[in-house]
Amino acid sequence: MQAATGQELLGSALAVSAILFSMGVAGVLLRRNAIIVFMCIELMLNAVNLSFIALAQQLGPDGQVFVLFVMAVAAAEAAVGLAIIIAIYRHKQTVNLDKVNLLSG
């Protein structure tokens, strides 16, 4: 079994990344549970991270640096986002996004 070339790995990695990203988008659009939606957003971020890493093999280490930044921001976002979800749950006894519609007129 031949070792896969960098070119082929890149294509597979980007394909996985696109699939992951699309799953994230679909989850954000279709799911109602705030925690699932939140996890889907993390999925989209990590799909982007994957494509950064894959492209960094060809274009130099800038992409890897970006991934570190994205992971740091995602960690901060997870802390804030989960805090908000807990606050919403305490307030409304639910994390269903269809019930959280105060701004929808």
Partner: protein, 657 residues
């Protein structure tokens, strides 16, 4: 320039001050009639006095006339430089005297006639304003300044015809006058535009100086300009085809009919042609149109006057007919003759109208005293009034003899002058003999219908009513005094322009020579032999006498019934009584198609369909449709926004990559 000529602005401004003061009074203190009288009549008497001084000063320095007094620049647009300026020369001086003199007398008469009217201050405000605009018209030194006066007198005419506007027929008559004048004003405007295009100027002095170089004699342009000017004249001066407003204008107070619709405003067209005599002399084809229209109108209106029962309607058609004579005069190149007839006509027609006003006043008072509602203007309700109103009867007989053309009276000389000038050009083309025949027949009819008016009004038995007879009386002196002054003018006014065969002949003609000298270059020499002139005088005399005697013999005032008992006219008499059905014909040809077009096309299709439907409601509907789409997108659901966001991103990526 003699200094007093410089006061001419005062003549114009005085009536305007009167208008402002009386207008204020009519709003603030409508009961202050004595103040209105003092102001309204006072400004006119003062204006007349200043006018006399101006004309006297003009006579001193007449060699250097015309005097053009420029006051301020009106507008400067490109090549057009217009200034507000007045022109004092022989022609405007004569008009100045007629307008201020006759106006002053009619203002005095109005004091008596309108005394009981609640709109007394408003009446004098309008009348003062009219005199102001009329003076702007005759004194203006350029076509646009004249046009301001031209439009202004039209406005005052409208306001005064509809003075008793609570009666719809009066308001309608005012509208009719205004709209028919608009048709004529369109011609005046076109003429001004063309004159400016060709000569680059609009002031009388410059245009008439440049005219010989700028226009070809009998060329297309000069003919077009003069015909357009004449269209303006037919509107303002009630000639065929735009004459039907003038008889309806009798809806206004009678002094208004005397001043505006007999003596001054309606003669503006004659003045315009006399003023533009160079242009008309260079366009002989247009001049023939003017003369033919004038002669035809003179005869046509005279036939209608034969069968009218309303005393003011007779005089209105008589005015139309006499204006026709004036146009015949200026059309055959007798510009001085036309203006001379204008002057004598101002005297005798103002006198006739004021006299009829005095009669109507008396009848109205009699019917008022007995609380009967009868037509105070219908001659069938008059008869035998000379017993009750000897002064009015006497002065009206003088005016009748003048308008009928009895030798010695003013109208004889002026009418004979015009007919002689027409006859004198007969050797050029037989059409002028034909016009002379038309004019002479109209003169015969004039003598007949005026005598008819006098017989039915002042002679025979009284038909006013048994109870009313004791209330009939002469009008107060404030009304009869102006009649006497006008009667003097009507009787002896002819001396200012005697026929050539008499000593001291043609004073007005000599006076106007500087004004008309340029046009004489283009007019053929037309001299009558002494024999021919005596013959024409003889014929004119015979015509006048035949007309009067025929009316006296044929008409039987004793057999006349009062208006409510009289049978309807039949046959040809009915055609004349119905004014040849001209109003009905115009109604069918112009009014009804216009109304139909307005209602079914302009209103239903253009207004309701296009403007209201497509433009107003259509734009609202479009905005609402966009708003509907926009509001449907704004669901307030986050997932929907995200979906749109994702789709948008995908579309963008698709287009970029």
């Amino acid at each position: 320039m003699p200094t007093s000529v410089g006061w001419v602005w005062l003549v114009v401004v005085l009536p305007f001050i009167g208008f402002l003061a009386n207008g204020l009074i009519s709003f603030l203190r409508p009961q202050a009639k004595s103040a209105v009288t003092a102001i309204g009549v006072g400004v006119l008497v003062a204006a007349f006095a200043v006018a006399v001084a101006v004309v006297a000063a003009l006579a001193q320095g007449v060699e250097s006339a015309p005097f053009v007094l420029t006051y301020w620049s009106w507008m400067t647009v490109g090549e057009l430089e217009l200034s507000v300026s007045l022109q004092v020369d022989q022609l405007s001086a004569v008009m100045l005297m007629v307008v201020t003199g006759v106006s002053a007398l009619i203002h005095v008469f109005s004091v008596g006639y309108m005394r009981e009217d609640p709109g007394y201050p408003r009446y004098f405000a309008y009348l003062n304003l009219f005199v102001f605009f009329m003076l702007v018209l005759v004194l203006g030194a350029s076509f646009p300044v004249m046009f301001v006066g031209w439009e202004g007198v039209g406005l005052c005419s409208y306001l005064l015809i509809g003075f008793w506007y609570l009666d719809k027929s009066n308001a309608d008559a005012g509208k009719k006058a205004f709209i028919m004048n608009r048709i004529g004003d369109f011609g005046f405007l076109i003429a001004m535009f063309l004159i400016f295009q060709v000569t680059g100027s609009l002031s009388f002095v410059e245009v008439f100086e440049q005219a010989p170089g700028a226009f070809a004699i009998n060329g297309g342009m000069i003919t077009l300009i003069t015909l357009a000017l004449f269209l303006g004249c037919t509107g303002k001066s009630a000639q065929i085809p735009l004459f039907t407003w003038l008889p309806d204008a009798m809806a206004g107070p009678t002094p208004v009919s005397a001043l505006i619709h007999a003596a001054t405003m309606v003669t503006a067209g004659v003045y315009l042609i006399a003023r533009s005599n160079v242009l008309f002399a260079m366009a002989p084809a247009s001049s023939v149109v003017v003369a033919t229209t004038g002669a035809a109108t003179a005869l046509f209106a005279a036939t209608i006057a034969l069968k009218q029962w309303d005393i003011k309607k007779v005089l209105a058609y008589s005015t139309v007919s006499q204006l026709g004579y004036m146009f015949l005069g200026v059309g055959v190149g007798a510009y001085a003759g036309g203006i001379f007839h204008l002057v004598t006509h101002a005297f005798f027609k103002a006198l006739l109208f004021l006299g009829s006003g005095s009669v109507i006043f008396a009848l109205h008072r009699a019917y008022h005293a007995t609380h009967r509602h009868e037509d105070a203007q219908d001659m069938r309700n008059m008869g035998g009034l000379r017993k009750y109103m000897p002064w009015t009867a006497t002065v009206m007989w003088i005016a009748t003899l003048a308008i009928a053309g009895v030798p010695g009276f003013s109208g004889f000389f002026s009418k004979d002058g015009i007919l002689a000038a027409t006859f004198a050009r007969g050797h050029e083309h037989p059409v002028f003999y034909f016009l002379w025949v038309l004019g002479s027949v109209a003169a015969l009819l004039t003598a007949f219908y005026m005598t008819r008016l006098m017989i039915y009004t002042f002679h025979g038995p009284n038909r006013t009513g048994a109870n009313e007879e004791q209330h009939l009386a002469e009008a107060p002196w404030v009304m009869t005094a102006p009649l006497l002054v006008l009667a003097i003018g009507a009787a002896v006014g002819g001396v200012i322009n005697l026929p050539h065969v008499l000593p001291a002949a043609g004073w007005v003609e000599h006076l106007f020579e500087p004004v008309t000298e340029m046009s004489h270059r283009y007019l053929p020499e037309a001299h009558l032999s002494v024999n021919a002139e005596w013959m024409l005088i003889g014929i004119a005399t015979a015509i006048a006498l035949v007309g009067i005697v025929a009316a006296w013999q044929l008409l039987k005032p004793a057999a006349l019934l009062s208006a409510k008992d009289a049978a309807a006219e039949t046959g040809f008499q009915r055609v004349l009584w119905k004014k040849w059905y001209v109003d009905e014909i115009y109604n069918a040809l112009f009014v009804r198609p216009t109304v139909w077009l307005s209602r079914n096309v302009l209103w239903r299709v253009v207004d309701a369909g296009v403007i209201d439907g497509a433009l107003v409601n259509g734009s609202a509907w479009t905005a609402r449709a966009f708003g509907f789409i926009g509001s449907a997108v704004q669901t307030g659901r986050l997932a929907w926004y995200l979906l749109v966001f994702v789709i948008g991103t995908l579309v963008l990526l698709r287009t970029v990559m």
